[in-house]
Symmetry: C2
Subunit: 332 residues, 2 copies
């Protein structure tokens, strides 16, 4: 994705972002501070604050959006802490997840603390994007709940699936980009354009991520496949195949057998075969292509600039890597 | 505690509070709405919004604090949903807890949704108590973490324990009372007085609750005792006994045996004996008495009025019932 070393002009600003993050997450409680140190030590790619900074520069104004970017990254990190508890994930950003290190009880409060300590700061409440942030966070909760509520639902529609992604992934991208655009003095139409860009970017980001659950390549040979499918989270390649008049019924049957506790290596091969027969991965790539075009053209109101080029490049990188995964796949 | 039927003048206002709550928790997502319906069906005693309303009336001004009271109750309810996940509690307010009914994944997002949908509303951000609320919510997280971090710590000091209560219980009372006082046009000194009242009220409320873990009465014969103690949460009667030169060492030994997995009915009787010998429950009652006096005198800047009398009565009710528990106890 983004490597900050490729955008040297942002390096100094991202240092400032991280100083803000440390300040905003400081706690009087030694137990809480210990968790914060652990969380902030492992940084991740910080794609959301980078998006905030880039979007704040689209109009060429000199503004300091570093604190805003910090708030976005903190909210995102807090949501990851809660997600990891729910998914019982062991690792996060190369370290033990907070709940594995400190226990789920402590982790819930670590996430809550980060949100309260950050969004409760005075300066932020008067920002015009503050209210939008909450509206999008609501959408995010709805998306997560929608996804979970459709576990093992073999009749889930493509439309429902896309809606859930718009909630669970696009919403946070829209908060990041929207807050940046707002800081960068975008007018209402321009903010709307950035919002569409963010929605489409979230879609291709998540569709690519979901695709990776299906393809195994030599490069990724350690990776197990079909994790989502076995957990009852049906993503686009599967949903496309479910709807196929020839192969749909058989894939649904396998899905329901899995739900009922059956297992077997041959099931994985058959899943892959059925999805290959209906072109589920190619279909997903075609949607990634379409949303990529829509993301890029959403930015057309902005004149050419370095930050705009970086945003367009990001779209292309995601699209290209999704295609590469599928074409290098040994099983598709 | 409070029975709203005893305060008929508040009944109409509490109806309004509940209409606000329903509106603020409405979701576009049918899955989310299903959970909200479940949560709001079981109402509880709603002591916090009642405190908000009463405190809003201390100065005798005609103000509508019903939406504020609704926000407080929603935040509290959301925190209970998260607490129940952590404690794996089966029941809440006489119904299945949200996470038992819908699963922990859904429950985390139900709690988050309630917070986001509520505190993100425009009208609230300009309220002077909005920022204080977040500062207190931070204190609450620190208190919860502090309590958990001291599990099985037989050397926990009384001071540390009181600090944790101020976080986990008093903070939410202070939000409720403080927001009410603020709506009711209290000046800075009066708000400070209400804040002290709330802190002391939280203390006696929690100390009484903690006492109930030690006493078994005929009335409460179904109730198991020493739940907190067996879970490693040491409350004042135990902490007082830990510090006793005669009995402390033995109780600590039992505590550590429990931590290491030992069990036995005779351990419960010995715990009760040791606490009785050192007067752990009486000591707790003496603190309840002291904090009750402090709570009541905190309200002295306010002239006599119906709402003030209700607040003083509440303090007395909590104190009296705590004394009754201990004097009716069959084991103390």
């Amino acid at each position: 994705m983004f490597d900050i070393r490729e955008i040297p002009e942002l390096e100094a600003e991202m240092k400032k972002v991280n100083t803000h993050i440390e300040r905003l997450c400081r706690s009087d409680s030694p137990s809480m501070q210990k968790m914060m140190d652990w969380v902030l030590e492992a940084r991740g790619k910080q794609i959301r604050p980078i998006l905030t900074l880039l979007c704040s520069k689209l109009k060429g104004k000199k503004v300091d959006a570093t604190e805003t970017a910090a708030v976005i990254e903190i909210c995102h990190t807090a949501s990851l802490i809660h997600d990891d508890i729910i998914d019982d994930a062991d690792m996060r950003r190369g370290s033990l997840s907070v709940h594995k290190k400190f226990g789920p009880e402590m982790a819930v409060y670590a996430g809550d603390f980060m949100i309260f300590s950050t969004i409760g700061r005075t300066g932020l409440m008067n920002k015009p994007w503050y209210r939008t942030m909450f509206a999008k966070l609501e959408v995010m909760c709805n998306g997560e709940v929608g996804q979970f509520d459709n576990r093992y639902n073999v009749d889930i529609t493509e439309e429902r699936y896309i809606d859930n992604i718009i909630g669970k992934t696009s919403a946070m991208f829209a908060i990041a980009c929207g807050a940046g655009a707002c800081e960068g003095k975008c007018n209402e139409d321009e903010q709307k354009a950035v919002d569409i860009f963010a929605e489409k970017l979230g879609l291709i980001f998540q569709l690519r991520d979901d695709l990776m659950d299906f393809v195994s390549t030599s490069e990724l040979s350690q990776k197990t496949i079909h994790n989502d499918f076995w957990s009852g989270y049906y993503t686009l390649p599967a949903i496309h195949t479910f709807a196929d008049p020839e192969c749909g019924a058989e894939l649904k049957e396998i899905a329901l057998e899995i739900r009922d506790g059956m297992h077997g290596k041959e099931m994985d091969s058959r899943i892959a075969e059925l999805i290959k027969l209906t072109g589920g991965c190619q279909y997903t790539l075609s949607l990634i292509d379409r949303y990529s075009e829509e993301a890029k053209s959403a930015l057309s109101p902005f004149r050419d600039s370095d930050p705009k080029r970086k945003l367009l490049e990001l779209v292309d990188k995601i699209r290209t890597s999704a295609h590469a995964y599928v074409s290098n796949a040994s099983n598709y």
